[in-house]
Symmetry: none
Subunit: 282 residues, 2 copies
DNA sequence: GAGTTTATGAAAAATATTTTTCAGTCAAGA
DNA sequence: TCTTGACTGAAAAATATTTTTCATAAACTC
């Protein structure tokens, strides 16, 4: 139940100081309740014990629980940017447009959650030629990981995409050296085997792990030295990976731009090898 | 100064656990910071002392001051969410945000370019249980195609992802019946072999081709009965596939929602088979 | 590879916060 | 006016929270 409702429900049966308290609380709801019990006491001109009793009276376990509830409400009620946005353009509707608007908003959120410095740092790490780069993702998110490794491979040497099958993992682990990068993408419905891989790579080999994950943080987080948090809630049945893809693309594009000379040469060389085969079809 | 800005400002000079902390904080800003230092520590997989030091580093007097600031911001922002949001955006620029803004624009374009009627029609085609669905993409765009087939497979039977290697294609072609769907994703640097596949499938087998492509229209277009045009120019060195992914996600989400009962059952059955293996790792 | 620096968390200490106890106050009724 | 009972806050006690200290581990440098 909402805290506000609880207060209203108990209103008929309140003492003088409790009413003072209730008024103070509701006058600046829910922020007044976020101060310490002392501060709130001062503000409402009521002693701390009265507050303690009040909180018990409205059926909560204690002042801390009371605050937790308020925060939860606030978070809940926090009008998501999506809603704000949608109100903005109320007109255009349609399933697709709606979906896209949400995805676009989540992308914005991703942009805000990743600092510029972090972005630069990760680009730099992925650019250093001495480090090898190993890339892997989860069942679904491997598509994102593939995108990364594919483009990274055009910009530099030493990029390996680790296959799904755990059987060949040791082979890749053996190839890793200290300081090499293991870039992992893991979104919810985290895979236990990826966590094991992370553990091994960081503990045994000394690889540096860069993790792209959602806000609940995959268990890999504890081994990671860089975390790229990306929102994935689309407000629908399934998650959206568009923000993750956008961030990935931003990374690889930046890296390619920074190393343009090498990238251009590599693409050229690569095309020369690929084109003759391209039309080969039975 | 906003706490978020403080974090960004200090980002260049952070240790590993501080970065983890920053990521956690920003991923669920500002609510993550409203928990107790212990809880936050648990969430970010970092010790309480590290948080204490972190808070000092970003120039605040202590955890309590940090929380007070967050609450003040929250209260501030509550007044006029839209304005605050806008203001935020304007300031922070940077490569990533810039990139994301472009991608978001392109997504809008995609939304406008696909009519609601077409979107619905394609969803319906992909939902009809009698038609089998074959999916394939180009070298890079197969990422998008994989996403489609993966999710589609959760909503229905008879979904096949055609592998890269041309050698096995005939096998798939033999399996196709008139009226089956061949969903192809092909962006510039079109692959000749895909065009051949399209030609064969439509002329010989009588499959219906749905094509997702960019505005230059892949050579497959002439065989396609539905074309989903998606913009891919990012204004940078490389193209962006975010709009394509967003459209794909919109499709599969809509389809799953429309066939929710079946989808739910399939996912459940699927999980039952998958979970026991999930932890299987050497 | 040895030595130095730096970062980290466990434990202890310090601090802040909340709850309980308890004595005083006040109002209502005899 | 006295008694009774409920309400209140000061102070103490109990808790929870935060910060400091310190030993260890990791990373970096020469």
């Amino acid at each position: 139940m909402q805290v506000r409702k609880r207060i209203e429900a108990a209103a008929s049966d309140m003492t003088a100081s409790e009413r003072k308290l209730a008024a103070t609380l509701l006058a600046d709801y829910p922020f007044a309740g976020l101060a310490s019990i002392q501060d709130l006491g001062r503000k409402a001109e009521v002693s701390a014990p009265s507050i303690s009793r009040f909180v018990a009276k409205i059926g909560l376990g204690g002042y801390q629980e009371f605050q937790r509830d308020l925060i939860a409400e606030l978070k809940e009620g926090q009008q998501s940017p999506v809603e704000v946005h949608r109100a903005d353009r109320a007109v255009n509707g349609g399933y697709l447009n709606d979906f896209i608007a949400r995805a676009a908003d989540q992308m914005q959120v991703a942009g805000d959650a990743i600092t510029q410095a972090q972005f630069d740092r990760i680009c730099r790490l992925l650019s250093e030629p001495k480090r090898k780069i190993f890339v892997i993702g989860g069942r679904i998110s491997d598509t994102i990981a593939k995108h990364l490794s594919f483009h990274l491979r055009q910009a530099r040497t030493g990029v390996f995409h680790i296959p799904d099958s755990t059987e060949v993992w040791p082979e890749y682990l053996l190839r890793m050296k200290q300081g090499d990068i293991l870039f992992m993408v893991d979104f919810r419905r985290y895979q236990a085997n990826l966590a094991v891989l992370a553990e091994t790579a960081s503990a045994t080999v000394g690889a540096r792990i860069i993790l792209m994950t959602d806000r609940w943080l995959s268990p890999i987080a504890k081994h990671a030295s860089e975390i790229l948090p990306v929102p994935i809630e689309s407000g629908t049945l399934w998650d959206t990976y568009s923000p993750a893809l956008a961030v990935t693309e931003a990374l690889v594009t930046r890296i390619a731009e920074d190393n343009w000379d090498e990238t251009r040469d590599r693409i050229k060389a690569w095309d020369a090898l690929r084109l003759p085969q391209q039309d080969m079809i039975k």
